[in-house]
């Protein structure tokens, strides 16, 4: 039977949006494969919300919460071995890197990562994946059974919220949980200034193109004139130019402000994932082919060191 198994990702006990996307994608794939949609919940999660699954597989064990990657890989790999789904879907998220490759390796199944689209063709799955920072899309054909890691934002969430049979099975945890080689020590919320950029209506976001920490002030001046908060891309936070709490993207915050003003951000897929639904996106970047211009409404390749002061001055004049 051509079942599709979805790993349900949770954060702070809440089901992550990617999980609903995957359930929706799974419904279509299962239909084409003549199978059902199975959802794997490792640890605690709101089962009532998982109406998109035909079978909810629940595995409970004290070591599954808080999240420890090895424990979740063990549970997922065990479910794949015993239930033999033809397709396994995992989010191509921060936790998905461990889970997808770990499970594929443990079960000897092929893995296709960075998936944007999935279709069944005969007994095979045709996937479209973004490669090279979103500059190339690869189409692959993989004979099932196989594992696919799906980029967040590729499928609508709504399709995965209902339509399943809603059966529930409790499964014993795998023996591997008694021999884990890693342990949870502590967790931390994003630190730094107590700022919450997800609440900001306007964001001026800074990327590597700003050149160095000494130039951040230019963006701060603009932000001040706009009544905006400062955000940043991952390299800027990794370099310590701005605190981690201001990071937009996959390993940072997902934001949907009324204005997203991107300064010197090329737009890696991991960044676009966190801001593409902003109402108005204006981007300044020296490379006319930068992916940020694919999601921006307005763009310019104007030198940011000339443009930012000029724009700040005009906005100040208007406000004054």
């Amino acid at each position: 039977m051509g079942n599709v198994l979805v790993y349900i990702e949770t954060a702070d006990g809440q089901i992550a949006p990617i999980s609903f996307e995957l359930l929706g994608a799974a419904r279509k794939l299962a239909g084409a494969l003549g199978g059902e949609v199975e959802a794997l919940v490792a640890g605690e999660a709101g089962a009532a919300q998982l109406g998109g699954a035909d079978t909810l597989i629940q595995v409970q064990h004290p070591l599954l919460t808080p999240y420890v990657p090895e424990a979740h890989v063990a549970v997922l790999a065990d479910a794949v071995r015993t239930r033999n789904p033809q397709v396994v879907l995992v989010g191509n998220t921060s936790v998905g890197i461990d889970l997808a490759a770990g499970t594929a390796a443990a079960t000897g199944r092929p893995l296709v990562s960075y998936c944007l689209g999935l279709e069944v063709e005969g007994g095979a799955v045709v996937a479209r994946s973004q490669l090279y920072g979103g500059k190339i899309v690869a189409t692959t054909k993989t004979e099932a059974p196989a594992v696919f890691a799906v980029v967040a934002g590729s499928f609508p969430e709504a399709a995965g919220r209902s339509g399943g049979k809603g059966q529930r099975v409790d499964v014993d945890p795998p023996a591997a949980l008694s021999a884990l080689r890693m342990r949870f020590v502590s967790s931390a919320a994003p630190g730094g200034e107590g700022v919450d950029i997800t609440k900001a209506e306007r964001l001026v976001s800074v990327g590597r193109g700003i050149g160095g920490p000494e130039n951040i002030e230019l963006a701060q001046e603009l932000a001040k004139a706009l009544g905006a908060e400062i955000g940043a891309s991952r390299p800027v936070c990794d370099s310590g130019w701005l605190p981690k709490a201001r990071q937009v993207g996959k390993s940072g915050m997902t934001v949907k402000p009324k204005l997203y003003f991107a300064v010197g951000i090329s737009g890696a897929p991991e960044h676009l994932e966190g801001m593409r639904d902003s109402e108005l996106i204006v981007a300044v970047n020296s490379d006319a082919n930068a992916p940020i211009f694919k999601v921006a409404h307005f763009g310019t390749t104007c030198d940011l060191f000339d443009l930012l002061p000029a724009l700040t001055e005009r906005l100040k004049a208007k406000a004054g």
């Binding site: 990562s113 090279y132 899309v137 706009l226 390749t301």
Partner: protein, 255 residues
């Protein structure tokens, strides 16, 4: 404490990429290659651990064109040894690359392996988890910050929403580094020259044991351009005028 860092080059994404005539790979004849930025952070993390706690660092890479320069630069930055893995011609997928590198890692028998968390061309999953699976070692990806303990490492794993957790991992282990606690250091040319003069790189042969990924690439394409931005051109002053105007129209110009 012996730390192995796995390095590889990827196309520089600042450059425009073209698809070759076969349609299944990028045109590699003119593409500029650079050290994968996450591998760069993994190397920095390894050197930081060496500096703080005393460790031997070995840089390991599959032999590809231009890799000597990468390995010499790693030595100039603080790696004690560099090992090139001769794995034959052609571009290896991440699973096969991991199986080739695993043989060398077994010989080196390090306590800790650091890799970059991901690479922009790893269509078939990332090297680190596969390497860990072949070695039978624990693995954690998306790590920013590694601290050495006695027989263990403590790593900070990042999750979406900016949350992090500290995990304690038994050694030996494979860690996928997202970011080192400080930006990768600059290599002065004099140090690079010194590293190049200090002797040849070590090399081993390591043909991949595993079969190809089982995934057939049907074709590559440039992404559909989608909606795309309306581009504003002109001098900075003119562009600033237009942006100020369009923000004002939408009620976004004032705080």
């Amino acid at each position: 404490m012996h730390i192995a860092v796995v390095l590889k080059q990827v196309p520089d994404l600042v450059e425009e990429l073209e698809i070759d005539s076969g349609g299944k790979d990028i045109d590699r004849s003119f593409v500029k290659m650079k050290l994968n930025e996450f591998d760069d952070h993994a190397l920095e993390q390894a050197v930081l651990l060496k500096e703080s706690g005393g460790a031997k660092v070995t840089a390991v890479a599959i032999a590809t064109e231009g890799i000597d320069q990468v390995l010499y630069a790693a030595k100039a930055r603080g790696a004690d040894a560099a090992m090139k893995v001769e794995a034959g011609e052609g571009v290896l997928d991440s699973r096969r690359a991991a199986s080739a590198i695993a043989e060398t890692i077994k010989q080196l028998a390090p306590d800790l392996v650091l890799t970059g968390v991901q690479a922009a061309d790893d269509l078939f999953g990332q090297t680190g988890p596969y390497l860990a699976a072949v070695l039978g070692w624990p693995h954690v990806s998306v790590v920013s910050g590694v601290e050495l303990g006695g027989g263990t490492v403590r790593v900070h794993q990042e999750y979406s929403g900016g949350r992090t957790a500290m995990l304690e991992v038994d050694l030996p282990a494979v860690i996928g580094v997202q970011a080192a606690p400080q930006p990768p250091r600059y290599v002065p040319v004099s140090k690079l020259r010194q590293a190049m003069a200090s002797g040849a790189l070590d090399s081993t042969s390591g043909a991949p044991a595993s079969a190809p990924a089982g995934v057939a690439v049907a074709g590559l394409a440039k992404p559909e351009s989608g909606r795309g931005a309306e581009m504003l051109s002109g001098a900075a002053g003119e562009v600033a005028d237009r942006i100020a105007a369009l923000l004002a129209e939408r009620g976004l110009a004032r705080g």
